[in-house]
């Protein structure tokens, strides 16, 4: 049984006004326990609206969302509970920090869960560790931190709830390459330690190609393409039409193929291309 799934999910904004807009239409989606899933799609394709349904923040116009087989809108209490089980990190989460210390801010979620003080403390320290924050930083005001550290603190605030599913909306947007790699590494550590399911919305094809098990592509509120990175990135043309692009190495391989090299179609990591070229050279002697 999938851990989290949606059935014929629809969401219409401002229904019945001149501003009416269908953001998500008829989406059937499922994710298994422990999976690492990437969601891609052009701006305005409905990704962000979609993920807000997965933890019950938005109520679908029609259709349903199931967590462990239970409809999350079954009761008000269960919808709220789901928010702790399905953690959602918004885009630019550093703008949601508000407490006087980083510690207090990370503790906001666990406190809302009604945990004891000792347990809150334990979770905050653990989450700070996962997010790569040093203990000395916990007593600072969140507004004294640098941009990248603020981002970590905000992510820690969600991890501290120990969600079984962690959803991140462009967690690396606006960070430098090193900060990006570190945050992705932190997320992977959390996944391993807690056997968590990760859903990551991103525009960074290089990053997604390296780490995820499966990619879901959104286009105009629908799932346009779904599969392993190899399957999705072999559709270079379709990706281009949708205003996205395959990883650079795929494009290089595509061009080499056009020039006459007999390369495979599913090259999306630099290592793939290297191995392929090596093989070709050996074959030619």
């Amino acid at each position: 049984m999938p851990l989290l799934r949606t059935e014929k999910l629809n969401h219409i904004y401002s229904a019945g006004t001149p501003f009416e807009r269908v953001a998500v239409s008829d989406v059937n989606f499922a994710v298994e326990k422990g999976e690492y899933l990437g969601i891609i799609g052009a701006t305005g394709s409905g990704k962000s609206t979609f993920i807000q349904h997965l933890n019950g923040l938005l109520k679908p116009t029609s259709g349903s969302v199931y967590y462990e087989g239970r409809n999350i809108h079954e009761s008000k209490g269960y919808a709220r509970e789901t928010r702790f089980k399905v953690g959602l990190v918004f885009q630019y989460p550093e703008y949601q920090l508000f407490e006087s210390t980083v510690f207090e801010d990370i503790a906001f979620g666990p406190k809302n869960m009604g945990l004891s003080e000792a347990e809150v403390r334990e979770r905050v320290l653990e989450a700070a560790g996962f997010a790569g924050l040093k203990e000395a930083q916990l007593e600072k005001s969140p507004f004294e931190l640098s941009g990248g550290e603020k981002r970590r603190a905000a992510i820690a605030g969600v991890i501290a709830m120990r969600p079984g599913v962690l959803i991140l909306d462009e967690p690396t947007a606006g960070l430098d390459p090193q900060g990006r790699d570190e945050i992705v590494g932190n997320i992977l550590n959390y996944k391993k330690a807690r056997e968590a399911t990760i859903i990551m919305v991103t525009h960074d094809m290089e990053e997604i190609s390296r780490s995820v098990d499966r990619i879901v592509l959104f286009e105009r509120g629908k799932i346009a393409l779904e599969g392993t990175p190899a399957q999705v990135f072999s559709e270079v043309k379709l990706l281009n039409e949708l205003g996205l692009s395959a990883p650079k190495v795929t494009l290089v391989a595509e061009r080499l193929r056009e020039l006459g090299l007999p390369l495979k179609k599913d090259i999306y990591m630099i290592e793939h291309l290297r191995d392929e070229l090596k093989q070709l050279r050996e074959a030619r002697g």
Binding site: R83, Y95, F98
Partner: protein, 267 residues
């Protein structure tokens, strides 16, 4: 949600009403309000209703939108009606039970008051529905510019107003976003007593203020780096010009108010 608020919202369009000079629209709205308060009797009200419906039809604003906009003010209208029905004394008593007395005069006054309020609100909606905030403040600035002679900072006031108007949707969106982010961490904004709710709003208010200050700072920098230095010597990209249709509209307004006055004198 917050996004459904339509009070004071602009609906782009290309009708005669949309194209009118904003200055003229401001004047006409003032004329309309004056006429509304001068109107008397069934004929007066019917005339004003006719004028309002004609203007609404010309602007192609859907009745649904108007009704949605009215929702927040329904309560005020309801209170007005209740006060009038129960507290206006008159001769023709329709219903009497102990201290509750309902008279024909009371009912009539209530009906007139309610329709006057409704028409007043819908009429002013028409102005904001069909005029972009920028055009509106531009118009206002030009109309008030004679006051510059007595050293009133009209340009600065207008600039402040247009910036404020410009940022209302942005702040609403921001509020929505921060609210969702905190809800995702289990914040509960809509249950509990007064104190609990007031406390619950802190995680919303603090980030909102910080972001508003940040935006103000960024906007000031952006304006300065484009050499903004206040109103002196500033020219406009879009100069407001009155077209024949503006004078036609003014004539129409004059006819309406004259008719209302005549009806009042006759009745």
């Amino acid at each position: 949600m917050l996004k459904d608020i339509t009070l004071g919202q602009f609906f782009p369009g290309n009708t005669v009403v949309h194209r009118l000079d904003p200055r003229m629209k401001l004047v006409l709205t003032l004329i309309y309000i004056t006429a509304l308060f001068l109107a008397q009797g069934l004929f007066g009200y019917a005339l004003m209703l006719g004028v309002l419906i004609t203007c609404l039809a010309l602007s192609r604003i859907s009745p649904k939108t108007v009704l949605r906009g009215l929702r927040p003010v329904l309560f005020i209208i309801l209170v007005t009606v209740i006060l009038n029905v129960f507290f206006i004394t008159g001769e023709t008593i329709l219903f009497e039970y102990r201290f509750i007395v309902i008279t024909q005069e009371g009912l009539l006054t209530a009906a007139f008051m309610a329709s006057r309020l409704l028409m007043l609100i819908v009429g002013t909606f028409l102005l904001t529905y069909t005029t972009s905030p920028i055009a509106l403040t531009d118009g206002l600035e030009q109309m008030l510019s004679p006051l510059k002679k007595i050293r009133l900072p009209i340009h600065e006031l207008a600039m402040m107003m247009s910036i404020a108007l410009r940022f209302i949707p942005t702040l609403i969106e921001e509020t929505d976003k921060i609210m969702s982010a905190q809800k995702a961490r289990g914040a509960d904004f809509d249950s509990g007593g007064l104190i609990k709710r007031a406390k619950a709003i802190l995680p919303l208010i603090i980030p909102l203020f910080i972001s508003a200050f940040r935006r103000a700072d960024e906007l000031a920098t952006a304006m300065e780096s484009r050499c903004y230095h206040g109103g002196e010597g500033r020219t406009r990209m879009k100069v407001l010009k009155s077209a024949p249709r503006d004078y036609m509209a003014l004539l129409f307004g004059a006819v309406v108010i004259a008719t209302v006055v005549l009806l009042r004198a006759a009745g």
